[in-house]
Symmetry: C2
Subunit: 430 residues, 2 copies
Amino acid sequence: MSQLKIALLGLGTVGSGVVSIINQHQDKIKQMTGQEIVIKSALVKTPDKYKEEPAFNTIEITNDISTILSDPEVTIVVEVMGTIDAAKDYISRALTAGKHVVTANKDLMAVHGGQLEEIAKEHTVDLYYEASVAGGIPILRTIVNSFSSDMIQSVKGIVNGTTNYILTKMTEDNLSYQEALIQAQEKGFAESDPTSDVDGWDAARKMIILARLAFGMNISLEEVSVQGIRGIDVNDIVRAKDLGYKIKLLGQARLIDEKAFLEVGPVLVPETHLLASVSNENNAVLINSAALGETMFYGPGAGSLPTANSIVSDIIAVSKNIANNSCGKGFNSYHQPSILAEDAIIYANYYLSLHLENRPDRLSALEQIMAEQEIAIEKADQQLVENDISQVVIVTQPVNKAQIKDLKAQLEKEVDIELKTMYQIMDKEV
Amino acid sequence: MSQLKIALLGLGTVGSGVVSIINQHQDKIKQMTGQEIVIKSALVKTPDKYKEEPAFNTIEITNDISTILSDPEVTIVVEVMGTIDAAKDYISRALTAGKHVVTANKDLMAVHGGQLEEIAKEHTVDLYYEASVAGGIPILRTIVNSFSSDMIQSVKGIVNGTTNYILTKMTEDNLSYQEALIQAQEKGFAESDPTSDVDGWDAARKMIILARLAFGMNISLEEVSVQGIRGIDVNDIVRAKDLGYKIKLLGQARLIDEKAFLEVGPVLVPETHLLASVSNENNAVLINSAALGETMFYGPGAGSLPTANSIVSDIIAVSKNIANNSCGKGFNSYHQPSILAEDAIIYANYYLSLHLENRPDRLSALEQIMAEQEIAIEKADQQLVENDISQVVIVTQPVNKAQIKDLKAQLEKEVDIELKTMYQIMDKEV
C-alpha cells in the first residue's frame, strides 16, 4: 500500500488531535483511501518540549520550516499554528514548493484566502480549509458538493462557540455577562483576551469564508456589519423570553437581488426555531436555498478532536485527488462579482429597548419619531423601572437598514429618550 | 465546453424537478464542473402524454428502454421511477452497458444495494444514491466524506416525513391519528395506502442504507426491529408531554461492542433536544461519533426539488469522476463483517402505559412482575380513567431488550393488567 507523508505545522491541541485520529483510525482510512497516511515531521518552536512525548516518537520534530519545505517526501503540509503572518508565509512557500496544504486558520483564510487559492491554482496543488469554519461541522464541503446545482439565498449561523456558551449561561442560569464570561474562561471556552470572540470578529471572519463558498463572492472584513455581545443585558434576555425569543449571536450572509450583505450581531431567535435549541459551545449553520428550502447543519464548533477530524477529512480528500491526478482545481470553483446590497433593500424586524423619562408625552414623542422614519410598530410595552424612568420595549414591522440608521441618529438627539439596545428579530420560520 | 448527456427513467415529480434544476442552474453547474449537462432522453410509459409539454421539448421521449441503453451518447442513466423490479432490471442493464447510474430508489437500494454496487464495480462505473435517504439532506455524502476518519457509534433519525407530519399534527393540534392521517393525505404528504410509511417500513429501509455507509455493514430488513405509529394514542402524546417529551418515529442504528442493532419505532424525545424541534414533513439525522460527538443534519425529507437537487449533486459527482478518470470506486468503500448485537446488550429507558383493574393489589402485582425481571422504576403515576380502570404510566431505568421481551410475555399472562403502549425514551443529551 502506498504511503502519503504529511508534515504538521504546530503540535498544540488541534495538531495532537490530528496525530491521535490518524493513529487510531488508520485501518478505516486505509480501507477508504487505499493509502496509508504517515505523519513524518512537525514544526514547533521548542522541539525539546515534545521529543520525550511517546505519542510523537515516530515524528521528526523540528523548529526549522525549511527542512519540511525542502523534504521531497512530504506531500501535504497541515497548518495548525493559528497566527496570520507566519502561517501565510509558510503556506505560500509550501504551495510554491508544490506541496498541498490543509489549514484550520480562519483568520488567515478570511483575509488572504483568495490570494492563497490563486497560488495553489498556479502550482496545481490543493488548498483545503474545512476546519476553519464551525470546527467539526462539514459545512464547507457540504456547500461545495451538495449545493452546486442549487442557489443559496442566505447562510445564518451560530458560528462562535464562546459567545453561544456565554449567552446560554445568561439565559439558562440568569448569569450576568461578566459572570458567564468568567465561567467560559474557566471551562476553556473563552480566551483570557476574549475580544475577537465577544466583539463578533471571529464570527465575521467565518461568515466571510461561508459567503465566499455560498455566493462565490469575496467580501472584506470592513464590509461586514459587526456587533458583539458585550452590550447584552440580562434584562434584554428576559424581555426577549417574554416575547417568545432567545438571544443568539448570529452571523448572517444574505443575497438580496443578487447583492450580498454580511452582518454579525445579537438576534432574537424564536424559541421554537431549531437555532434556539443550539446551546452551550455548539455551532449550527442554517442555509436557505432555492431548491432545498431550509437545511441546518449542527455540531461541535471547536475542540481538539472535532477540528482534527475536519482536517483529516481534508487530508483524505487531497489523497483522493492525488490518486486521481486531479489536484489544483480548488476547494471552491464558484466565483461571482462581489456586489454589496445597499441599506435601502436590507429589511428585517427589530427589537428595541429604550429608557424614557416617565412623562406622558415621552411615549408619544417616541412614536412620533418612529412614524417620521415610517417605522411601523407591531408591539410596544412600557414598564416603570425606576422612580422616573420607564422602559419601553418595541417590536417593529419590517424596516430597512437606512430607516434604522436614521432612527438611531434621530434618537441620539433626544435628551430624555435613551436607546439601550436594538437587535434584529428572526422570522418565525422552521 | 464538453457536454455530458443523461437519460431519465421516469418523468414524474422528481424527474421534472431534475429537468427544472438542470435548466435553471446550468450556468453555475458549468462553472463548477467545466461541463454542460444535457438531458438527452427520457423513458416513460405513455410518451404522447409528455410530447406537448414545452419543458420537455428538447428531450427525446420513449417507452423503449433499449433505445436508451444502446445509445452511446448517454453517459449517465438517472432512475426516478420508484418501483423495485423494473428499476432493478433497468439499472443492472445500464451498469452492464457501461453507463453510470444515479438513483433515488430507497426500496431498491435497501434490498439490492450491495448487489448493484458489485455490478457497478465490475464494470468500472459509478452508482450514486444520495436522494434515496432523507430527500434533500446530503447525509450519505457527508458520512462518506466527512466521517471517513471517524468512528460512527450511532445514527438516529427522523427519516420519514409522513409519520413526522402526522405526529406533529397530533401533538400540536390535538388531532387523532386518523384525523392527522387524512390531513397528511390531503396535503400530499401521505399516500392513499400509507402502510409503508405509518408501519415504519420506509424508515427501516432508509436505516439499512444509513447503516451500510456508517458501519460498513449489510443488514437485511428482517433483522430490523420495526414498529409503526398506528398504535399511538393522543393520550400517550399528552402523558409524554407531561413528562417533558415529544413522541417521534425514530430510526436508530447503533453499534454496541462493535455489533449492530437497527430499529424503528416511536420514541419519547426530550422537548429540549434538537430532534424535538424537527416538525411537520421535515427530516433530521443525528450522528454520534468518536471524534465529533453529536452532529445533526436537518432538511426537507422529500419533495420534487429537494430530491432532484440530491440527484443533480450525484450527477455532478459522477461528472467530476468522469473528468478525473476515477469512476467505479464506489460511493461507499467501507465494509465490515455484519454482526448483530444480542438482546442482552441493547439497553434503553422505556415508557410504559398500562391499564389496571382498579384494585389496590394490582399495582403491587405489576411492581412484583417488574421486580422479577429486575426492571427498576424511575417514575410511576396512577390515574383513574374509567369507573374501575386505572392508567399507570411508568418510566423505567435502563433495561435491555431481553428483559423487555420477558416483561411483555409476563404481562400478557395477566388478565387484569393490560399493556397499552411501550416506547423507548431517548437520553436527555444535546
